[in-house]
């Protein structure tokens, strides 16, 4: 890396203050997730995207979904466009894949709630 970074870890609500040096050594973390986050954030930042998808149900207008794995940050809006194209039918279970390999990221979009009718 060209320079050093001071970051706030977003992996959990602790929000550790991380320092990443030029050799990608991470300090200030309370757990291993912080090391991985720190390295990824200065090389190829990723995020989990959560949103909702239209569903034909008596209970709710929309079903919550997420990317199963973190996706490259710059793909967030492309992924939102795909999420907003689809709609679901009941029943839906937690973990059901609603879009496979979204935008070629290798991550699926999965449902995060059970909606039976």
């Amino acid at each position: 890396m060209e320079k050093e970074y001071d970051l706030i870890c977003i992996m959990c609500p602790n929000g550790c203050r991380l320092h990443v040096d030029k050799d990608l050594n991470v300090t200030g973390n309370k757990c291993l997730r912080g090391v991985n986050y720190g390295k990824a954030e200065v090389t190829h930042p990723t995020r989990i995207v959560t949103s909702t998808v239209k569903i034909d149900s008596h209970e709710l207008a929309v079903c919550p979904v997420k990317t199963k794995d973190p996706i490259p940050k710059e793909k967030i809006f492309d992924i939102m466009a795909e999420i907003n194209k689809i709609s679901l039918k009941c029943p839906v279970h937690i973990g059901d894949v609603v879009i496979q390999n979204v935008c070629g990221t290798g991550s699926d979009i999965v449902a995060t709630r059970e909606i039976l009718q």
Partner: protein, 420 residues
Amino acid sequence: MKQKDLLIIGGGSAGLAAAVSAYDAGVRDILIVEKGPFLGGILNQCVHNGFGLHEFKEELTGPEFFSRLVDEVKERHIEYVLNSFVTDLTKDKVVSYTNREDGFVQVKAKAIIMSAGCYERNAGAIGIPGDRPAGVITAGQAQLYMNEYGYLVGKRVFILGSGDIGLIMARRMSLEGAKVLGVAELMPYSNGLNRNIVQCLEDYNIPLYLSHTVSRVYGKSHLEKIEISKVDDHMQPIPGTEMTFECDTLMLSIGLIPYNNLLNHIGLPTSRSRGAWVNEHMETKLDGLFSCGNVLHVHDLADNVVEEAKVAGKAAAQYLDGKLPRHEELIKVEPGDGVGYTVPCEIDLANAEAVVPIKFRVRKPSKDVYLEFKFNGETIRRIYKQTIIPSEMEITPLKKELFTSNTGLLTVSLVQKEAK
């Protein structure tokens, strides 16, 4: 009148976890009364991730988190009623609720757990000068519309208050195509978690105006624009610092208040958290009435809510077994300098477990300080903190043997580290 061993008011994270822990401690005759159409409480609308790292050791979204709790309730066949609003509670522990099928129902309970969550401070509470148009909405209400009903409440949004719900909604509305123009925060620091400043504002280039407030609202029938101003040390707008933003929505994220009205109504003492006064077993001043979750004090983490609710559930079981006597000798717990409130407010050492967790919030962000626990004037524990902020609840476990007596006063204060 119906009879129940344990009645639980509210089926959110707190109510569900309390029910499961009471069941696992032997209580069988339990009823959860929930006013909404689903169990799970506020997490029904929290579709974002960031839950469960403590409780389930993985990162879950709100719905995934509450679904696990609901599964635990269903596995145990714990009884619950939905769409049922608790309207009253008496000192004899008679609980009244209403719903469409059964009409008005009264239940005499041997023990009660209060877990009704919290509500949002609204526009009326802060009296912003100017017009009173449509388009001014609390962030939690906007979140409900968005994440359960599928409505985007506006296209050009300004947010007042940097609480977590506002930050989460700033991202959510940006993702759905709205333009979020900025967030104004009265205090010189943010009230949200740092991670949310990063992933909800910075990721979407949304400016945060610290020490600013909305000084005027404009709009005939619908909101047209707002004016923000920088504030002075007394939180008053400074003339000449005005900026205006054309927007159709002003979202408020200006604080949560424990929804403790039912207990206030019967005159139970409250703590400075605005929730009930409780002891180390989450028992209020009324025998057999317990309180936990956001109705007791507002939590940042659902995991902490679950932890606290488990204590309340287990305590209710002990109470029903006649194993939670009240003793004369008590330790009072009070917030000292720099601390806003504590939970619990009292410790009955004879009943206490080996470790008593003391939960509190500091009043303002501080650096290079000690958290000082004094018992009857003597320091029994001191913890160094490089940084400490009001938006993160502190939990300090105190070992029972630190207390040299069953009576006295425990204080928690913030002490600045002396400069060398």
